[in-house]
Symmetry: C2
Subunit: 386 residues, 2 copies
């Protein structure tokens, strides 16, 4: 088992130091960074000061807003993630077509400034409710919140606006949450809820050899109850389905600070691979922050399409793929992040050709503890990941 | 604040010792109890033994299955919860219309027996996947799992089949989860995930004066970050929306063991009241287990329809009720558990008449910390709950 950490760490440490600025891309790209609250505050203040100057000099005011349209997105193979190109447009106050958005932008900036002064966190829903009359519906305040991140050049977490928490973590990890030290080997079966605000998370320590990223709750529970992390020293984490921002930030922080390989256990269907890709190279909607949200070099441990025959998953536990599933699978084959990994292409081809999918739970057909006592130990010992 | 505990505890302790058997109801009712794993095992063994006797004496075999149809449900005002009446029918193996269900029942009993021997917990999904060919789809194995609870006379938790975990808890509570001692004042902002299996939860200690039951994640987060439980000693718990079995069991256990009043903070809409009612008097689907799943005497703290005017919630933060909302509100007015509380009827009448609803988040229109610094302190000091 010892060579698990070294082998996977070696491949990841080589990829780690690369950043957008190292690449000298022909296209200019835009990325945001984590800023301390005081810097966000002074960024807002200097932005507003420049608007005031502009108004006083008789030019009115406008915001330079980066575009987040599909045409402004770019997959960078060297970084293995999506980034935002640098196209942007001016959002004028004195223009009928943009006055509304300019007003909302100003109001959001003012609210974020308040959060900076008070040093508290709120949800997007809270933000919406502070001025329902202006925002009208939450998609409008949400969209402009992302714009404000881009304008200020900082991550959404830096703005102290957080999403609902969803993820849980258990296993060989100690960390501090808002000043409290948490030992995740002493969290029983329920595990520790992943905090919504990553900036209050710190002091990570671990003697684990790897991080096991689990797509679903049921598999997580099986591993937590069996205290799988005691037999194979690891940290087990799940977002219970679609990855949320808090879990993505937490995973990245673990990977970066503890320098551990990440092995993913997802359903053998296009959706499972899509979830893996969101952790690995980001979602298009938040590509401006992909440097902070993505975890490089995640390995696909299972359930892989080739496992279905290899582990003799009974026919009745496999499900036929729908037309939509097959289309999603074919679309994934065209994605750069899949293409750059020949092993993944091969697996995905098996899936699309066999038109069969299977959930992690399908392993229960061999007994409830087959996952924790047979499948995962075998996979890990054979280093069978891609 | 001190009299908060005594006043609310007095009213609840009077109601506490009442059980179904005390009432001498004219209708016979059926209830299940928590059984230790060894008893579940011997119940299954003696049931199977009786089936074998029946087969050997040439009578074939059948299961006596309690009915869970609406006509077999009864609201008992003295207990303030729904219970199951004692109608049941025989599920014969040697009958074309019931052979399939009888077979599935036998298989589920066998699987539960395995869980007893191994002393592990599984999810309903795991259970389904052990025999997809027989069960065909998960609703079939789920339904018969509930039947098996009724047949054996024990709770579903006693069968070691658990649902996904959803709830979180934070504040003045110490408890053990699977042998680990958890101090919920030291869980940062994320809080502790409520364990899926209540039978591994124990040793509850607390110096809180009350339990604050919160409908939604966002309000929970605000209170957790502000460490509201330090100013008003309490335990804060949420199931993030629709209550799941694990959170309902956990709330009941806290209330019973710590003898604390429970104050509920839900949205001011029919759905919020419905959620309160599921915690308080149970859902129809699991009425056979209402004695274990329900928490008696939950107080409706807010957001109540009368609060909208009292706290001057701005018009634009209130939402018009849809036709469906109004219908649900009117239906609730006919429910026994609402009728028995005149204060609730009055509030619900205000809601249906004004045709306005509001989320907890609507309080953010007065500032992000209005909930934790103004609204709740006022409510608690004025003992303004129903």
């Amino acid at each position: 088992m010892k060579n698990l950490k070294s082998s996977a760490a070696a491949s990841s440490s080589a990829a780690k130091p690369l950043s957008l600025s190292d690449l000298n891309l022909s296209t200019a790209c835009r990325e945001v960074t984590d800023l301390p609250l005081t810097s966000v505050q002074s960024e807002i203040e200097s932005l507003v000061l420049s608007l005031a100057h502009s108004i006083l000099s008789g030019n009115g005011f406008s915001f330079p807003v980066p575009s987040r349209a599909a045409a402004n997105q770019l997959y960078v193979p060297e970084l293995d993630r999506i980034v935002l190109k640098d196209k942007s447009s001016a959002r004028h106050f004195a223009n009928v077509s943009t006055v509304r958005k300019a007003t909302i932008t100003t109001r959001i900036l003012q609210l974020i400034h308040q959060l900076c002064l008070k040093n508290i966190h709120v949800t997007k829903r809270d933000l919406f409710y502070t001025d329902v009359k202006l925002f009208q519906d939450q998609t409008q305040s949400d969209t402009i919140l992302d714009d404000v991140s881009c304008i200020l050049g900082c991550t959404r977490s830096s703005l102290n606006v957080v999403a609902a928490e969803k993820g849980v973590v258990v296993g060989r990890l100690i960390f501090s949450d808002n000043g409290d030290m948490i030992d995740c080997t002493k969290m029983g079966m329920g595990g520790k809820a992943i905090p919504p605000n990553i900036d209050r998370v710190g002091d990570m320590q671990s003697d684990a050899l790897f991080i096991l990223l689990v797509e679903k709750d049921a598999a997580y529970m099986r591993l937590a109850e069996d205290r799988f992390y005691n037999r194979f020293p690891c940290i087990i984490v799940t977002a219970k389905g679609q990855p949320d921002v808090a879990t993505r930030l937490f995973l990245r922080k673990m990977k970066t600070e503890l320098k551990l390989p990440v092995l993913a256990l997802v359903d053998s269907d296009p959706y499972g691979l899509k979830i893996l890709s969101v952790y690995g190279c980001g979602s298009k909607n938040m590509s401006y922050d992909s440097a902070n949200l993505t975890t490089p070099d995640i390995k696909w441990l299972g359930i892989r399409p080739s496992d279905l025959d290899k582990y003799k998953i009974p026919e009745q536990c496999r499900l036929p793929m729908t037309e939509q599933d097959i289309k999603t699978g074919r679309d994934l084959l065209e994605e750069d992040f899949v293409k750059k990994n020949p092993g993944w292409v091969e697996e995905l081809n098996i899936m699309v050709k066999s038109k069969q999918k299977a959930e992690i739970q399908a392993l229960s057909s061999f007994g409830f503890q087959y996952l924790s006592e047979v499948y995962l130990p075998l996979k890990l010992q054979q280093q069978d990941w891609l």
